[in-house]
Amino acid sequence: MSWPLSFLRGFMAAFLAIPALSACNPNALTEEEKEIVGSLSLASLPALPADPSNRVADDPLAAALGASLFFDTGLSGDGLVSCATCHMIEKQFQDSKPRAVGVSETNRRTMPLAGVGWSPWMFWDGRRDSLWAQALVPMEDAREHGGNRTGYAHFIAEHYRSRYERIFGPLPSLAHLPRNAGPLGTVEERATWSAMRSADRTAIDRVFANIGKAIAAFERSIVPPETRFDRFAAAVASGSEPQGDAVFSDLEMEGLKLFIGKANCINCHNGPRFTDDHFHNTGVSAVPGLPEDLGRAAAVRQALDDPFNCLGPYSDAEPKQCAELRFAVREGEELLRAYKTPSLRGAASRAPYMHAGQFATLEEVIDHYSNAPDAPAGISEIEGVIFTERGRKALIAFLKTLDVPESTTDP
């Protein structure tokens, strides 16, 4: 080896080892870092926000009905698909597939549900503004549940009448209404829907909205479970030595410091759910073969136009309570291919990653943030971060401290 090269290599190794050495001592967190650790802890999670658009959001009877509906494959066109087909209870309410498969494959990765009641916007692109409005979308998507509105109302009348009526009051008369009709179904179902009287369509829409509201009441009960990180954070907050599995290894400490420090992960993955609930273009590639995906740029209009949104006729909220919708950014380049920051709680065992399952492993995710490629459309917000091999391992080790044991994902 020539002298200049070995000199440079030695110099680089010494330089890059500095952060590693300074992170060896678990007590090496600065006061500022301790404060950030506290802000990420589950102990900082605020109370579940109210959903004024859903008057049964916190009604236990509605949550119980919602749980039954969530797991019932009868709530689908072919009788084979339920919410739990993709939101699998034993897998953090997701399916570990790149893209969800109901009746057929969709264009997006199934999102996990822990802590979903705290999210102001639903779906990767935020195209719905409440959990109940979200729950309705897959039910009418031909690739997901593949059912239709009058079909669902008949199903409720036949299988859940008394439980439904205890919560929402009497079901409308359905005897004269077609078995299969809806505004988003097949050509025939759409024609049948159009031919129905307006009052009947409204009555069906109300039952449909109530199905969503019951499912939402159940989903609000799915909260993020405590992790090793939270036990570590509790010790940091109380000024005591972490004990047992709350002790972080040197590698995990380095990963934590990178995460909240120079890797800038904390910019977007902040707060106790490790998400800023906002939409970002991070330059993730488009999946070949899928239709053009504009992300938030297309979704915000869908949310504003949704008849089941907070300002719509089926919402229980006063217009002034619909702040997210009223103050949503509606246009601008920042929305193009922007997707919601996902929570990192449980992410380590939740491959593949990104909105269409573009990355198979956490290593690939970290390489992406390191390389910071140009976005396929719009402008990526991320700036490349150079990781050492150890730094890369350290970040992954830290993310694993946020992992969720399978048995604790039950609501």
Partner: protein, 147 residues
């Protein structure tokens, strides 16, 4: 041992300079300037108005949708009751705007205005820019907020 050649010294110096610049840049990205003006009462850029801002509830919490109260007076101290106030902002170091589109939701008495729908979704240095339009003139004022 032989002294390193001139080429190597130059190379090492260049490397050190790059690292120093890189660290300085990282420092800039991570923190706002030390002398950042955090005053909540200011004159507008052309001195037409005196503007004060305060959040409706303290402390301002990261991630939470919240409101600010803006008080606008003329240079002579009289309240600017008929102004059109609009708001914009963002994070100068990240190059992005506000995550929401806050609006004035109705003037209050005495030249005060309520701005609803503000959210700071990240920690760090934020700017809130107010444009004020009244018969007295069109002017702007920028406030810095650090979370």
């Amino acid at each position: 041992m032989k002294w390193p050649s001139r080429r190597v010294v130059l190379l090492a110096a260049a490397l050190l300079a790059i690292i120093a610049i890189g660290m300085a840049a990282m420092h800039l990205v991570a923190r706002p300037p030390d002398d950042l003006d955090l005053a909540r009462s200011k004159s507008s850029a052309n001195g037409i108005y005196a503007v004060s801002i305060e959040p409706e509830a303290e402390p301002v919490e990261q991630g939470k949708l919240h409101s600010w109260l803006v008080s606008v007076t003329m240079a002579d101290g009289s309240p600017a009751t008929d102004a059109i106030v609009s708001i914009d902002g963002g994070m100068p170091e990240h190059g992005h705007g506000l995550p929401t589109a806050p609006q004035v939701t109705g003037p209050l008495p005495d030249g005060r205005y309520r701005i609803e729908g503000v959210r700071f979704n990240m920690g760090g240095w934020w700017e809130l820019r107010f444009s004020i339009l009244s018969p007295a003139g069109d002017d702007e004022v920028v406030f810095n907020i650090v979370l």
